[in-house]
Amino acid sequence: MSAATGTIDDVRRRPVDTLVAWTRRNGWTLSLLAILALLLVFTKMVNPSYGVSGIQGLAISVLPLAFAAAAQAVCVIGGGIDLSIGSMMALTSVVAASQMKGQSEELGVAIVLGVLLLGLVLGAINGGVIVVTRVPDIVVTLAMAFVWGGGALLVLKTPAGGSAQWLKDLVLGSAGIDWIPKAAVVLLVVVALVWIPLRRSKMGLSIYAIGSNRLAAFRSGVSVGRTKIIAYALTGLFAALAGLSLTASTGIGNPVPGPYTLMSVAAVVLGGVSLAGGRGGVFGPIIGVLILVLIQNDMSFLSLDPNLALVSQGLILIGVVMFGSLIQWRRSRR
């Protein structure tokens, strides 16, 4: 109903209306930004010395998780879910670290490109298996989590390897101005380069379509299987970026997957992407990641038990999702 009234008088729109519509459409992301701003103020209050180094540390520590959240967002928008993101990160990270150790900087560029390609292939295999076997996404990616995790152990048994210097320099330190960390710039540029053209393309629309209503998308001529494979391939690409940023920030590759898979699901839901598919974007989840990590930092500044951060992350996740479903419920009642 409300969507229909919004489009009819599209012809003569005042700028204010456009702004109001934009605010309404991005309401969830804007409220997340407000929460993030409040959290930053709170952080400054509890820790007056929080400044440049704090922001930079935050940017580097969220980088892998932010890419993981973007990865999860793409396939969840397409109506799926990928429980193998943590394992894909481990695999791409160890491949990058083991190949780059002791190599020249120039070869490092080729290796990074190869690892990104590897991510695309891993994701495409996930999507391909889902499409071919017709087994539910959650089961396939659960099983593939074992496969990719085992692959990571084949490459490296223990944390080892190295990283090209330029890759480390890419994320460490600040970009000109002290307050803008390089990691944040890298994150924004890379995600924008991949996501914004996609969102505006026919393929992006198709991904939203198969997530929103698979049958309707099929009947409108969308190739559901191909779109699904591409969505998962993009998930793999973002997972490879997450794995590379792990290698870049730690300087090594660790074959044991971190807690990234489940955290990415949490961040995606917090970021306003519906698990039912077809709704949301990648920037909301990235803000969700910032909020989750900042809470953890604040807990340590308040010299509280860091485990309480886990508790509060869980409670915030539950609270936000309950709030979201309440809003949806009231809207559907109207």
Binding site: I81, L83, V129, I130, T133, R134, V135, P136, D137, I138, V139, V140, L142, A143, M144, A145, F146, V147, G149, G150, G151, A152, L153, L154, R214, L215, V224, L262, V265, A266, V269, L275, A276, D305, N307, L308, A309, L310, V311, S312, Q313, G314, L315, L317, I318, V321, M322, S325, L326, W329
Partner: protein, 330 residues
């Protein structure tokens, strides 16, 4: 329903499909036998009653956790908090042993599990939060609180009670683990409960068609709250047995069993979309997974190859299922 078309049908391919769809336990049992035979061929002389006892003992906690997944998956849900709850329960009993004693420890652990289950159930049943997210959030909360509890009680003893060690690890006549004292009645209650009680049928109804279930008068939210409490209590029981079996009390003890528990339920023929499956298949699924992982260990394969094969087997079995039952994601 006349008997003639059915008996005719068994001989055809369609009949074979129906057999798998309606009695998945028969082909599953065949698969289990096949895996055991492979084990016997690979390691001649190892497959004895003693070996079977060890396998059964290891499969019991996994089967109980997979039971949690089966029950929740029947309604179209999933419970990812079982690992955190099971670990918390085992750790709680161990940490309360030196002071208040075993009885208090068991009661506190079960009480905490009930609270966690209530929280999940309220979120899923009343607020309609996706079960995956709700149980994930609850698992964060449980793990965090258990960790905080660990730090508070760091000075007290954290040995696993001797009673739990006996229950979890010892065997009667080499073959039957003592944990069967808990597991057999539990399995009987679930199997009979799913088939014969109104509550059991309600789980299938909600998973099969939630709207129809609601219109026929089922109070879905009440069913779901009770369901997630049951699941949490079962997870706690599995945690007691696992702590006894491994003689370890750690707040992350059962984490590695969460994904296998989902896999066991899926291999056992329970649909992740709800409405189809049962606990019998899940028990065989848990046994198959346990034998396979023992087999992969016995072959002396490195951990990496074992994981890859494990994942591949799950996909293949699940794919075979969806081919046979005709149930697809489209």
């Amino acid at each position: 329903m006349s008997a003639t078309p059915q008996t005719e049908g068994w001989r055809t391919a369609a009949g074979g499909r129906r057999l798998v769809r309606e009695q998945p336990i028969i082909p599953l049992a065949a698969l289990l036998v096949l895996v055991v035979v492979i084990y016997a061929l690979v390691r001649p002389g190892v497959v004895t009653t003693d070996w079977a006892g060890v396998i059964l003992r290891a499969a019991v906690p996994l089967a109980i956790l997979a039971g949690c997944q089966t029950l929740t998956m029947l309604t179209g849900g999933i419970d990812l908090s079982v690992g955190a709850i099971a670990s918390m329960a085992g750790f709680m009993v161990a940490s309360l042993l030196s002071g208040p004693g075993l009885g208090v420890g068991l009661a506190v652990a079960l009480g905490a599990a009930v609270l966690a289950g209530l929280l999940t159930g309220i979120g899923v049943g009343i607020f309609r939060v996706h079960p995956l997210i709700m149980s994930l959030g609850v698992s964060f909360v449980v793990l965090g609180l258990a960790n905080a509890w660990q730090i508070i009680t760091v000075q007290s003893s954290t040995g696993v009670p001797a009673e739990l060690r006996t229950l979890g690890a010892d065997r009667f006549a080499q073959l039957f683990p003592y944990s069967f004292v808990v597991f057999v009645p539990l399995a009987a209650i679930i199997l009979i409960g799913l088939r014969r009680t109104g509550y059991g049928r309600m789980l299938y109804a909600i998973g099969d068609n939630p709207v129809a279930a609601r219109l026929s008068g089922a109070r879905g939210w009440q069913v779901l709250i009770v369901l997630y409490v049951i699941s949490a209590v079962m997870a706690a029981v599995a945690g007691f047995l696992l702590a006894g079996l491994t003689n370890v009390a750690s707040v992350t003890l059962a984490d590695s069993l969460v994904l296998p528990s989902v896999a066991a339920a899926v291999i056992g023929g329970t649909s992740i979309f709800g409405g189809r499956g049962g606990f019998g298949g899940t028990i065989v699924g848990a046994l198959i997974l346990t034998v396979i992982s023992a087999l992969l260990t016995a072959l002396g394969l490195p951990e990496a190859v074992r994981q890859i094969l494990f994942g591949t087997i799950i996909v293949v079995v699940a794919a075979a299922y969806s081919r046979v039952t005709g149930e697809t994601t489209g």
